[in-house]
Amino acid sequence: MKSNKKYWKGLEELKSSSDFVEKNKNEFAEEIPLEDVLSEGGLNSVTPRRDFLKALGFGLGAVSLAACQTAPIRKSIPYLIKPEEITPGVANYYVSSFHGQSILVKTREGRPIKIEANPAGLFENTGTDAVTQAAVLDLYDVSKLKGPVLNKAEVTWDNMDLYVKGELNKLQASGKKIRLVSATVTSPSTKAVIADFITQFPNTMHVQVDAVSYSGVLQANAASFGKAVLPRYRFDRADVIVSVAADFLGTWIAGEEYSRQYVGNRNSKSLKKGKMSRHIQFETGMSMTGTNADSRIPVKPSEQGPAIIALYNEVTGSTLSGAEGLSANAVANTAIKLAAKELVQARGRALVVCGSNDVSMQTLVNAINSSLGSYGTTIDLDNPHLNYAGNDAVFASFISEMNRGEVGAVFLLNTNPAYSYFNARAFTDALSKVPLRVSFSDREDETASLCNVLAPNSNFLESWGDESAVDGYYTVVQPTINPVFNTRQAEQSLLAWSSNSQKNYYQYVKSYWEKNILPTAGKSWKQLLQTGFAYTGEKPAGTYVFSASLPAIAQTIVTQSKTLAKDIEIHLYQSMSMRDGRYANNAFLQELPDPVSKVTWDNYAAVAPKYAEEQGWSEFDKIEIKGANGHSITLPVLLQPGQARGTISIAVGYGREKPGQIGKVGENAYPFATSTNGSIRFFNTATVTKTGEKYELAQTQTHHSYEGRDIVRETSFASYVKDPHSGTGKHAGGHHEYDLWPEHKKIGHNWVMAIDLNACTGCGACIVACNVENNIPVVGRDEVRNRREMHWLRIDRYYSFKEGEKSVTEEKEIEKLENMDDISVVHQPMLCQHCDHAPCETVCPVIATMHSSDGLNHMAYNRCVGTRYCANNCPYKVRRFNWFNYWNDSRFDNYLNNEFTQLLLNPDVTTRSRGVMEKCSMCIQRIQAGRLKAKLEKRPLVDGEIQMACQQACSANAIIFGDLNDPNSAVSNELRNERTYYVLEEINTQPGVGYQTKVRNVVEA
């Protein structure tokens, strides 16, 4: 129905007069005097006050709006299609493997930023070493090759494949030899790839060589027991451990595993059971292992052989000749007798290890262990370590092959003999006679730069693969990121060059596992990728009896010792951070202080203080050391208490020529090594001249005694057994605490930490873990010299000396000591103590540092104006000031000043600008993440759920973090321990970090 109603807006419309109709035709009913305004008259007219104000208002508004500067534009590309597994802000963890042990790789938004031990891994895989912690930095190292290089020109992988294949086919036809040289390969799949390669090119041989070789041990075991293996030592089963120059907690075979075993017999749990192992160390230089020994006796390299002979004689009651070589060292002589007595008493629970790579010495040590009944108990030959299989003799004959011109192609994988071989010249000369030289090195290092084909291998974090460092224990390597640079896995290259039917190495690994390992282990591939490893089970450890003739062996030892016993004896060792030199370009490791000397960024000539005095050398004097083989280097002197007199210890792994941007530090000591009886030995003799120059080493600690202060508290095991409180300084009245300000109420949580000084070996993994977790800048050698390293966590190392019955800890008295050989060492991790009465908090003028309700001492970087009063007032000196913009200043170009390495930064932790104080935050980002997780899951936090970075990295479990408000938490338990004390508790700072006394299992007179 049509409506005929009419609506009207006004009377005009109703009337619909003609002029209304006329007007309504236009958009604006009333005419706008635009023309008038814009005409000359309009423009000349006087502006009315209102218009003026309007214009002014508009103008001002417009101008101020235009003046508002937009924030700098940072382009970020959101996920167009978000990968299912990535939630920005939430970390993903992948299992992988490094150095044969299962690890967890933390990735954020697709980039790996941290490595942790996979706690499910075997052999109590509770922590990692410093090298593993730092390894993630190598992924982003800009010094690496950015792509394949052929005859100094960048090429594509396809072109390289064509070239190499062509060359290989030519060689195949000519019948020349092909040699694949690598460090020990533990990967079953890689071994299979190599085997396939050999099938394709039958004139190929795989030569394994380790920069620091164990071929002496392998040969000795082959000779003694017919098994060329590195045995699995069981320090956990040993009550008495005698080590002759084996740094078994650090760099010897499997330091992390041994540390866990060793500490398990010495930590607070073991002490509670009234049990503590006894450890006697005979060694030349002061190793980290030596610092942990209950008794440590310095012996020269030339005395190590006689010492073992003497020990054999004492243990078995035989009379091998040669023990008299030790007669000059009366202390060692007595100590050997006592050690033998203790070993014999602990038969079946005793272990003797020797760090030498000499077949004869290792054979004799086998004899001692055999007579102590160690095989099958403390030494397991049936589940051996597979991580060092290099054979020095094979490598030497490979060099002759090259010299004879028989070798047509060399493939170099994970090895750098041009740097690390003792006679590098012989190697490089020989190598130049090989027409096809292929390097898989990730950078153009000393060896790679001599090669014509550079096929850069991917980092392990970009790779598929596997490892098996212990017999039966297989770990999988899975990639966590696409290759950062245009690199390709070496295995992939080998597959391509040998025209393998399987082109894809991932498929290759998978099918290898599905065929060979997974069925035995009872896991699926998927389960493997989730758990990280497969174990085919431990074989029963058999007992072995040594039954070879010894006099000839003893004679060899004596002859070798005599050649060493002249001039000054040099002892070469691996440092905890540089190891064999392959980590030289890792800034975290360069700045990690040596556990003993606290030196960063250099190697040095460690000399006993008294001996240096006799020779007229003082600290930091540069001396020229000329080896018997003619090699000579100039190094600064470091006075190292505990060093055997008449010896110099030098770390290998330094003096790299082409390590990359930052790693060219120190001097190369490898050439001092000698080849004796087919194995490389790290000893030599040398003459020394003082150059008259000085060179200041960058040390993070320059005062080495604790001045008898109560900060380190120790006791003997005997006293501990009598009274567990002994040495803690606790007295009947207890400790009175007074409050000047209102007490902090800790409702909810009260985060505290317990550190067991008897568990800490001083290795420094916690320091690197803290650096990586908290984006702590590496400041470089000069800034360390200026005493400005930024480490939030440090390990204080103090020496004390025994003079008769008296313990000497004060510098002034130490200077007067005649004999500085009887040395005790303590490692004390020191970090922000999160004091309840924090001296830093009261003095900050702007409240930039304050206490949280859960017992933490917070640092608000944004609020800090940088008066440094807090650092001055901190009795623990754990606060660190940003003197410069370290992470973004080209003068501190250690690692962070490029777009690649900045990918390593933990996005949960802000980088600190110049002028701001920082310090340990108790990994507050981890606490927060843990709390949020529990909150989301609507459950209370579980003890142990939140772990500090340092704690997580500590293999020895020396650091325990948790909630003191929970009486059942692990940390509450530890802090209730009788051994607990607080550093500087007498000044009423009420620290949140408790320490447990250092207990030494010394023989009480």
């Binding site: 005062h703 604790y706 001296p839 003028p845 702007v846 104006v865 940088g866 500087l984």
Partner: protein, 490 residues
């Protein structure tokens, strides 16, 4: 102040014959009303060069970061806070002279208070630059003030001695400035009255319309007295609070209750030494020997010996208490001062502050201009070392031996300190050019009673006991501004 005759036994505060009010004005205003002489230009040139060095050094520090100084993880303060405390200490004499001595009616202050106060203000400025400069993020220095803000309304930490410091120093600076300026009013008016043209205009504004009326003078006197009353506690409070920066901390060697009196005495000690350093030159160059007489010099030397001895006793007390406390950290801190790696700093301090001022017990030395000047410099060197010793030797070896470290200054540290001396002298030399270096009005007050000519007149009038007159005449012997021959006949 009063028209009565002063005892003849008191030494004159103004020497010279034929001194009139106008002569005082003429003498004092010589540098203000004339073109500067060569000596001034040379001095100013050197000072300005150093001041520019300071500008360069501080700009470099701000641009690059505090790492250009020699500080490290253990020694967080060194030359910066040493310089700060040193300058604040120097700034102490001014207020003491102008306020405390005023309240105690020590009329001899009248000749020296103006320069001393100016010195105070410039020294506090120098000290303030260090407060800003030592901050890691100096552009946020205003955060130390309790200003309303929008950072979630963040407040300052009233528990922190640094905040007390901020208040103490700023109060001290503003009160000193007001006191100084109030005292200047009659003198500025004098300059105004003698000037012409543009200068007259400027001084006219600066004089706040001073007319010299009785009411003006009456108010002037009461304001002076009130300000003196306000300033007197400040003399004690400023350095007390500065000392609390250290005393309230936990550091062995800092944590001590003796600090407030010890610091105040030390501050007066160094302040008077600086006044001595400046005025001995000024009186010579400006020919003000009649107004700043040997009596002034000797009086200041006596103050120096008294405060120096207090400081010396404080040093010994510290040592005793460290031993008596039985606290190993405390004992070590002091043992380390005496015999540690910075032993030379400690013994420089001891020599300069405790031993050398004792030379002033000899009248010959304390009335010798050269000896006074040299020793005044020695005292200021010693006082610099005192602060260095307290700050650096305490910090560099405190509780945990693992963190023990040495401090070595960088060239920037040195330039900044030397530069701050340049800034100070630049300001002081400019001050001498534009404002009277002696409080004319206050000196004129003494002319009729305490001047030598007034006393000679009394003697000539014969109303004075001959023995006392003789004593008076003998006391004039040390005055370098009084020539013996003038009174030979008496």
């Amino acid at each position: 102040m009063s028209a009565h005759n002063e005892s003849i036994l008191r030494e004159p505060l103004i020497t010279g014959t034929n001194i009139t009010y106008s002569k005082i004005t003429d003498d004092v205003l010589v540098p203000v009303e004339n073109k500067p002489n060569m000596a001034w230009w040379i001095g100013f040139g050197i000072a300005l060069t150093l001041a520019l060095t300071w500008v360069v050094a501080i700009s470099y520090t701000f641009w690059v970061g505090l790492g250009v100084w020699g500080l490290n993880k253990t020694v967080g303060w060194a030359w910066d806070i040493t310089g700060f405390v040193w300058w604040v200490g120097i700034g102490h004499a001014g207020t003491l002279i102008s306020a405390v001595l005023l309240l105690f009616r020590q009329n001899w202050r009248n000749s020296i208070n103006r320069s001393a106060e100016a010195m105070t203000i410039f020294a506090v400025i120098c000290a303030a630059t260090y407060i800003i400069a030592h901050m890691g993020r100096p552009w946020l220095a205003y955060w130390v003030f309790p200003l309303p803000n929008q950072f979630g309304s963040l407040w300052v930490n009233f528990n922190s001695p640094l905040i007390w410091d901020v208040f103490a120093i700023s109060t001290y600076f503003s009160v000193s400035l007001v006191f100084w300026y109030t005292g200047l009013l009659p003198d500025i008016a004098t300059i105004r009255d003698r000037a012409s043209g543009f200068r007259r205009k400027v001084y006219s504004i600066l004089s706040f319309g001073w007319a010299g009326s009785v009411k003006n003078w009456q108010r002037f006197e009461s304001v002076s007295l009130i300000l003196a009353g306000i300033s007197t506690p400040l003399v004690l409070s400023v350095h007390t609070i500065v000392s609390m920066d250290f005393a309230t901390s936990l550091e062995p060697g800092w944590h001590t209750t003796i600090f407030p009196p010890y610091f105040v005495a030390g501050a007066i000690f160094s302040g008077f030494a600086m006044v001595q350093t400046l005025l001995l030159i000024a009186r010579k160059v400006m020919k003000w020997e009649n107004y700043i007489t040997m009596f002034h010099i000797e009086s200041m030397n006596i103050v120096i010996i008294v405060t120096g001895s207090i400081v010396g006793v404080a040093y010994l007390t510290e040592l005793f208490v460290a031993w008596y406390s039985g606290v190993e950290y405390e004992q070590y801190a002091f043992l380390n001062r005496i015999s540690g790696p910075y032993w030379w700093a400690y013994w420089s301090m001891m020599t300069c502050n405790v031993i050398s001022p004792q030379l002033f017990w000899f009248k010959k030395i304390r009335t010798s201009i050269w000896a006074s000047w040299v020793l005044s410099i020695v005292v200021n060197i010693g006082m610099w070392f005192e602060r260095f010793v307290i700050i650096v030797t305490s910090l560099h070896r405190d509780y945990l031996p693992s963190s023990w470290a040495m401090f070595y200054p960088t060239p920037i540290d040195i330039l900044l300190f030397v530069g701050s001396i340049g800034v100070f002298f630049t300001l002081f030399l400019l001050f001498l050019r534009v404002l009277p270096g002696i409080a004319m009005a206050e000196v004129k007050l003494l002319l009729k009673t305490s001047s030598d000519q007034a006393k000679q007149k009394l003697i000539r009038e014969g109303t004075i006991d001959a023995e006392q007159a003789e004593y008076y005449q003998q006391s004039l012997e040390k005055f370098d501004s009084v020539s013996k021959s003038d009174y030979a006949k008496t």
